[in-house]
Amino acid sequence: MATGTAVSLKHVRKTYQLAEPVHALDGVDLEIPEGSYTAIMGPSGSGKSTLMNLVGCLDTPTDGTVVVGGQDVGDLDDRERTTLRGTTVGFVFQTFNLMPRLTALENVALPQLFQGISRGERNDRARELLERVGLGDRMDHMPNELSGGQRQRVALARALVNDPTIVLADEPSGNLDTETEADVLDLFDEFHDAGTTMLVVTHERHVASRAERIVHLLDGQIERIEELDGSETSPRSSAGQTTGHDRDHGHDHDPDHDERTGPASGANG
C-alpha cells in the first residue's frame, strides 16, 4: 500500500486578513507518503491547526497547492471538497466530537450516511470497526455513557469507516489520562501497521515519538523534520521538503529555532 503520496503540499501559504495580514502558513512543502505515520509538533500559533484544516480539505490555501488523494484541493468547489473530505480524510479530534444523540454505532456509520450507503451496509461496516477498536459490547451506547478513551476509540472507528487515504488526528490524547492514552495510541499503531496513513498533530513529545517522523512547525514554516529512525533533516539541507521561496515575502524568520522547539514542546507535555 505504501507506494504513492497520500498528501502533498507545495509552497503552501495561508494568510488571514486580520488587522494586518497574518501568515498562518508561510511557504510549506511537505509530502506525506501513503502508509506513513507522521507527527506534527509546534508551539501554539505555529500553524498546526491551519495545516490540519488544509490537509483535511476544510480550507483552501491562499497560495500554493494542496493535493489530497490525487486531487488539488484548491481546484475544487465547496461541494467537491466536501465529497473529497468525506471519502479520503478521517478526523480524530481532541474533544472526540461525537454526535451526542447518536449511539456509538450510528456515530461510526454517520460518514457513510452522507455517502448514500444503505443502512444495513453502514451498520455492518460500523460493527466491524467497533469490534476492531474493542467496543463490540458498547455499540448501542450513547457517547455520554462511554469513557473518554472509549469515545476516542469510537471517533477513530468513525475516521476509518470510509477507508480514508489519511487519518488526521488533532491532539487525539489531549483529553485522556495516561493509561487510556496509551490504549488509543496503541490502536493508532495497529491501524498504521495495517496500512493506514496517519497524521497526528500534538505538542506532546511522547505522542509524537510513536510516529515515523516528526515535522516541527514554527511561525508557519517547517523548522525541521525529525526522522525517528535516528536521522534528522533540516529544511535547508533537505531539497524538496522546504524551499526558501517564502523569503521574498519579506518576513524575517530566524532559521535556527531548533533549540527553542524541543524544550517548548517538552514543557507543554
Partner: protein, 443 residues
C-alpha cells in the same frame, strides 16, 4: 442522503427535546385546531340547515311578489297579488305538478275543550300538498273546501288535555268571530314546513285556503293582514281593487305567496316549472300581472336557494373566524422558526462534525428543514384531532348533525408541511452555510 434518513435523524433530535418541541408545536396545534373546529361547526350547521329541507320539499318553489330592492329572507316585503285564478292556471301547467296559495291568517286565540290560549300567528292557510305526507305523524292531509286542519305537536300539546286527531278546535279570528275546525292530522315536528314559516319550532295550525282564507275575504272585504303587509297593501292593492268597485268576493282573494310543485327535485324540472309558472303569472292574462311593475316583482325559489342567503352569511362569518384562527398559525410558524434558530446555534458543533465527516450543505439544510417540517406535521395532526374533537363536542352541544370536512383535514396537513418549510427555511439555510472550521471550534 435519503428522506427517510433525514426523518430519522430529525425525529431523534425532536425526541431529545420533548418539552421544547411540544411547546413549539402548541402554536400550530391551536391554530389548526381552531380552523378545523370552526370549519367542522360551520359545515355541520350548514348540513343542519339543509337537512331541515326534506327531500319532498326540494321540488317545491316558493314564490312571492316584492319590491326587487327589498333585502331579507322569504316573504320579505311580500304583497298579496296571486288570485285563485292565477293559482289554477299555474296548477294546470304541464311542467307543474301542483300549485296553491299560501296565506298566514291572523288570529286572536285558539280554544280547545273550553280552554283558550292566546295565539296571534298560528294559522296558516295553504293547499293540501303543503302538508307533505312524510311530515304527517298521525292522520292525513286536510282537504280543500273542508273545515279541517292539520296541527303540529306544539299546538297539540299546549292544552291541558292533548289534542288528537278527530278533535275540534276553535279559532278566534282577529275580528273576534269564532270558527271551528276538525283536526285531521298531526305533523311529526313543530318546526316550520317551509321557508315561509321559518324553521324554528312554534305552534301552527294548517288549514285549507278554502274556506278559511276565502271566507275571511268574503266577510271583511280585502284580506288585510297584520303588520307591514297590510299597511303596504293599503297603498298598493286597494287602488287595483277599486277598479272592480264591487264587494270583494272569494274570487278576489289575493294570496301572499304561491307554492309551485315541480314534478321532481331535478334541477331541469325545477327550472322548467319555475319558467312556466313565471311566464303565466307575468303574462298580461294573469290577475297578478295587473299589480306587478318596477317595484313589485315575483321571486320564485326553492328552499335550498332561499337558504343560500343564510348560508352566505354563515360562510362570511366562518371565513372571518377562520381568518382569525389563521393568525395563530402565523404565530405558530414564528415559534417554530425561533426554536429552529436556537437549535441551529445550539448544535453548531454538531453541524461542524457532520460537515467534517462529509455532509454536504444540502444534507445539513435537509436535516434542519425536515425537523421543522416534522414539527409542523405533528402540530397539524394533533391540531386536526383536537379540532375535530372540539367540533364534535360543539355539534353535540348545539344539537346539529356532525359533518367532518375531510378536505380540510388534508389541507391542514398540507398547511403543516408548508408552515414547517417556511419557518424552517431560514434557520436551515443558516445551518447549511455554517463554516465547519468555526463550527468545530464552537464551544
Amino acid at each position: 442522503m435519503r428522506p427517510l434518513e433525514f426523518g430519522r435523524l430529525a425525529w431523534r433530535s425532536i425526541g431529545s427535546h420533548r418539552l421544547r418541541s411540544a411547546l413549539t408545536t402548541l402554536g400550530i396545534i391551536i391554530g389548526i385546531a381552531a380552523v378545523i373546529a370552526f370549519v367542522t361547526l360551520g359545515a355541520s350547521l350548514q348540513a343542519g340547515l339543509l337537512g331541515d329541507i326534506s327531500p319532498d320539499d326540494q321540488r317545491n318553489l316558493y314564490g312571492w311578489a316584492a319590491d326587487p330592492d327589498t333585502e331579507g329572507g322569504p316573504l320579505a316585503g311580500a304583497q298579496p297579488v296571486f288570485t285563485q285564478d292565477d293559482l289554477e292556471r299555474v296548477d294546470e301547467l304541464e311542467d307543474v305538478d301542483a300549485a296553491y296559495g299560501y296565506m298566514p291568517i291572523s288570529t286572536q286565540a285558539l280554544a280547545y275543550d273550553g280552554e283558550l290560549t292566546p295565539q296571534s300567528d298560528a294559522l296558516i292557510a295553504a293547499g293540501p300538498p303543503y302538508i307533505r305526507p312524510a311530515t304527517i305523524d298521525e292522520g292525513r292531509q286536510f282537504e280543500m273546501g273542508e273545515r279541517e286542519a292539520v296541527i303540529n305537536p306544539a299546538v297539540a300539546g299546549q292544552f291541558e288535555e292533548n289534542v288528537s286527531v278527530g278533535d275540534e278546535l276553535t279559532i278566534v279570528r282577529q275580528g273576534g268571530e269564532q270558527t271551528s275546525v276538525t283536526v285531521v292530522g298531526i305533523t311529526d315536528s313543530s318546526e316550520g314546513l317551509s321557508p315561509f314559516e321559518g324553521f324554528e319550532p312554534s305552534p301552527r295550525v294548517y288549514v285549507p285556503t278554502d274556506p278559511y282564507y276565502t271566507e275571511e275575504v268574503d266577510g271583511i272585504g280585502a284580506g288585510f293582514e297584520d303588520g307591514e303587509a297590510a299597511e303596504d297593501e293599503a297603498g298598493e292593492a286597494e287602488p287595483a281593487d277599486d277598479d272592480n268597485d264591487e264587494p270583494a268576493t272569494a274570487e278576489d282573494a289575493r294570496f301572499l305567496a304561491i307554492v309551485v310543485e315541480a314534478p321532481s327535485a331535478d334541477e331541469g324540472d325545477i327550472d322548467q316549472a319555475r319558467d312556466s309558472a313565471l311566464a303565466v303569472l307575468e303574462s298580461g292574462d294573469s290577475d297578478a300581472s295587473e299589480l306587478l311593475g318596477d317595484d313589485l316583482e315575483i321571486t320564485m325559489q326553492t328552499s335550498t336557494e332561499l337558504l343560500q342567503q343564510l348560508q352566505d352569511v354563515l360562510d362570511l362569518l366562518q371565513n372571518f373566524i377562520v381568518g382569525i384562527a389563521a393568525i395563530s398559525l402565523v404565530v405558530g410558524s414564528i415559534g417554530i422558526a425561533n426554536i429552529m434558530l436556537v437549535s441551529v446555534t445550539e448544535r453548531t458543533r454538531e453541524i461542524g462534525i457532520m460537515k467534517a465527516v462529509g455532509a454536504q450543505n444540502r444534507d445539513v439544510l435537509g436535516l434542519f428543514l425536515t425537523e421543522a417540517v416534522v414539527l409542523g406535521i405533528i402540530g397539524a395532526i394533533l391540531g386536526t384531532v383536537l379540532g375535530l374533537a372540539v367540533g364534535y363536542a360543539g355539534a353535540w352541544y348545539i344539537d346539529i348533525p356532525l359533518v367532518y370536512p375531510y378536505e380540510y383535514v388534508a389541507l391542514a396537513v398540507a398547511v403543516g408541511i408548508l408552515v414547517g418549510v417556511l419557518s424552517g427555511l431560514y434557520p436551515a439555510w443558516r445551518a447549511a452555510r455554517t463554516d465547519p472550521i468555526d463550527a468545530l471550534r464552537y464551544e
